[in-house]
């Protein structure tokens, strides 16, 4: 479904590539998480897959079609929600369909279905400035899902939310993933979140951004139904990823003793 082959990316004259020969595939319906230190190129990779940024070399294929720019079978949920402040919840959720020239009534019905599913129907006519952060990200998710994409790209979608709201939305996302055949590429900083949600976790290293290792998560689904954190596999994966990231950070520090550009960048323009 998603096929990333040998993707490299360099910015400007900087010698070291941000991403170096990155390859990853995801089957239809698979939930793959990317986890790695800040600045390892997760957002960059996601933007390349979304078609917002050209790769320096390598290919991305989505559903068998080479992906060079934005397309209708891909949708993005952004870290900072990126809702239009001048649009109501409903108009925000219907945005993608509006761009596709779907007639007003039909697109509002389709958007409304997702809003209902995410518990937002009461807030359909509120502006983003009038709803909470958790609701805003739900609108962001509804907007992405309303166009019925095949591939959903999520860049730390719950990073800006409080723990309780985050846990709640993780559960909702899991339900949606179960009910659809969506393929999801999910960037996160949280090992716990990655284990909770993913079929597969890709651990990335930095300078240059690359895959260190992949983990399959075989915990029983649905995971919101039981205390998956009590399972021995949870502790084991968590421990391994944790150790791996710590080692990577230590090695990276040694490598960049001479270099000084370790400042992370939240939102590359």
């Amino acid at each position: 479904m998603l096929d990333i082959q040998h993707v490299s990316k360099s910015f400007g004259r900087v010698a070291q590539p941000v991403l170096d020969d990155f390859s990853l595939t995801a089957a239809e319906g698979e939930f793959v998480s990317l986890i790695g230190p800040s600045g390892c190129g997760k957002t960059t990779l996601l933007r390349i897959v979304a078609g917002l940024l050209p790769a320096t070399s390598g290919d991305v294929t989505v559903a068998g079609v080479p992906s060079v720019g934005p397309s209708r079978d891909k949708a993005v949920v952004f870290q900072h929600f990126n809702l239009f402040p001048w649009r109501t919840t409903l108009a925000n959720a219907a945005y993608g369909l509006e761009i596709q020239n779907v007639p007003k009534q039909e697109r509002e019905e389709r958007a409304m279905r997702w809003l209902r599913m995410l518990g937002l129907e009461k807030y359909a006519h509120h502006y983003p400035g009038e709803i909470s952060g958790g609701m805003r990200q739900r609108v962001g998710i509804a907007r992405a899902l309303a166009i019925e994409p095949k591939l959903l790209l999520m860049d730390e979608p719950f990073g800006a939310l409080d723990a309780l709201t985050r846990e709640h939305l993780q559960g909702e996302l899991q339900k949606i993933a179960e009910q659809t055949s969506l393929t999801i590429l999910f960037v996160t900083h949280s090992i716990d979140e990655a284990v909770y949600l993913s079929d597969r976790i890709v651990v990335m290293g930095t300078h240059p951004g690359r895959i260190i290792r992949e983990f399959a998560v075989d915990l029983r689904r649905p995971r919101y139904d039981y205390n998956f954190r009590a399972e021995p596999e949870y502790a084991q994966i968590r421990g391994e990823i944790w150790g791996m990231l710590e080692r990577e950070l230590a090695e990276d520090e040694e490598r960049s003793d001479a270099a000084e550009d370790t400042t992370p960048m939240e939102t590359p323009a």
């Binding site: 078609g51 917002l52 209708r72 993005v76 952004f78 239009f84 993608g96 761009i99 596709q100 907007r143």
Partner: protein
């Protein structure tokens, strides 16, 4: 894109809290801080001012200073008895609206293109910056040579006075549009036209309105000065004619009319702004 201000959900709670706020102050600091208190003070001081003015002005020559009673007589004469104010008002407002409207349309379009296409910005920016810096009334003699002493002269002056603030602010607004929101449009596969209508223009709206507000005051100055110096017509012409004959009481009437026009147009603009940007909570907090 079709928000109904009547259904504006944020309006009610904000206004309620504003009321609560003033009520709170009132109980703490007394009568002067209530709404009735403020108006009582305003009316009392106004009456004192008028009476003092009347007493003082009745002691000096009518040609130098007119008492309020004489001004009131002039108002009645110019608005009802012979009604000459209305003709002048129509002339001035006509020129203002036409030139100002044209300035908004052209200014928003040019500003939009300059903000979206860097080459165009590089080419046009020096001209725009220099013409913006020039007080437009300095152009009156030149415009008289080009257009003669006619309506077009005022139109041109109002247009020039208004168009540059609109261009500059629109361009700033367009360039200031949140790149993260542009990303949303791009992943949705929006065309350039859709990007402009769904992201750039709504995002630049507060800037555009700031430009329009500046343009309005500049345009008003433009009309009146053109009418006072080049073509003696409209409200500006009225001022000059009354002044030349030392009809001081009459002189106050067009001045008052200009004030009323200016305040009314500014208020109208504010209403329009609130209508077009119901999501913008700054208005609600100001308290109507």
């Amino acid at each position: 894109m079709t928000p109904k201000p009547a259904a504006h959900p944020g309006g009610a709670p904000v206004r309620a809290s504003a009321l609560h706020h003033s009520h709170h102050r009132a109980t703490r600091r007394g009568f002067l801080y209530t709404r009735t208190g403020v108006w009582t003070v305003r009316i009392v001081t106004f009456v004192i001012l008028i009476v003092a003015w009347e007493l003082y002005a009745s002691g000096v020559s009518r040609a130098l200073f007119a008492p309020p009673s004489a001004i009131l007589e002039s108002i009645i004469e110019l608005t009802i008895t012979d009604g000459t104010l209305w003709g002048a008002l129509a002339i001035s407002i006509g020129a203002l609206i036409a030139g100002f409207g044209l300035a908004i349309v052209v200014g928003v379009l040019i500003g939009l293109f300059m903000g979206r296409f860097r080459t165009l910005e590089y080419v046009l920016d020096p001209y725009v910056s220099f013409l913006y810096a020039l007080p437009s009334i300095a152009l009156i003699p030149l415009l008289v040579i080009w257009f003669g002493i006619d309506t077009e002269l005022r139109l041109a002056l109002v247009f020039i006075a208004g168009v540059f603030p609109v261009i500059i602010n629109t361009m700033a607004g367009v360039k200031n549009v949140d790149v993260e929101l542009l990303d949303v449009a791009r992943v949705a596969c929006a065309s350039e036209r859709q990007v402009v209508t769904t992201v750039v223009l709504p995002g630049a709206m507060p800037f555009i309105f700031a430009g329009i507000r500046v343009a309005l005051s500049q345009a008003l100055v433009g009309v009146i000065v053109a009418e006072m110096t080049a073509i003696i017509t409209g409200l500006g012409g009225m001022i000059i004619r009354f002044a030349n004959f030392f009809q001081t009481a009459n002189l106050f009437v067009p001045i008052l009319a200009i004030m009323v026009v200016s305040v009314a147009l500014t208020a109208g603009l504010k209403r329009l702004e609130r209508r077009l940007m119901p999501w913008d909570h700054r208005h609600a907090e100001e308290g109507a």
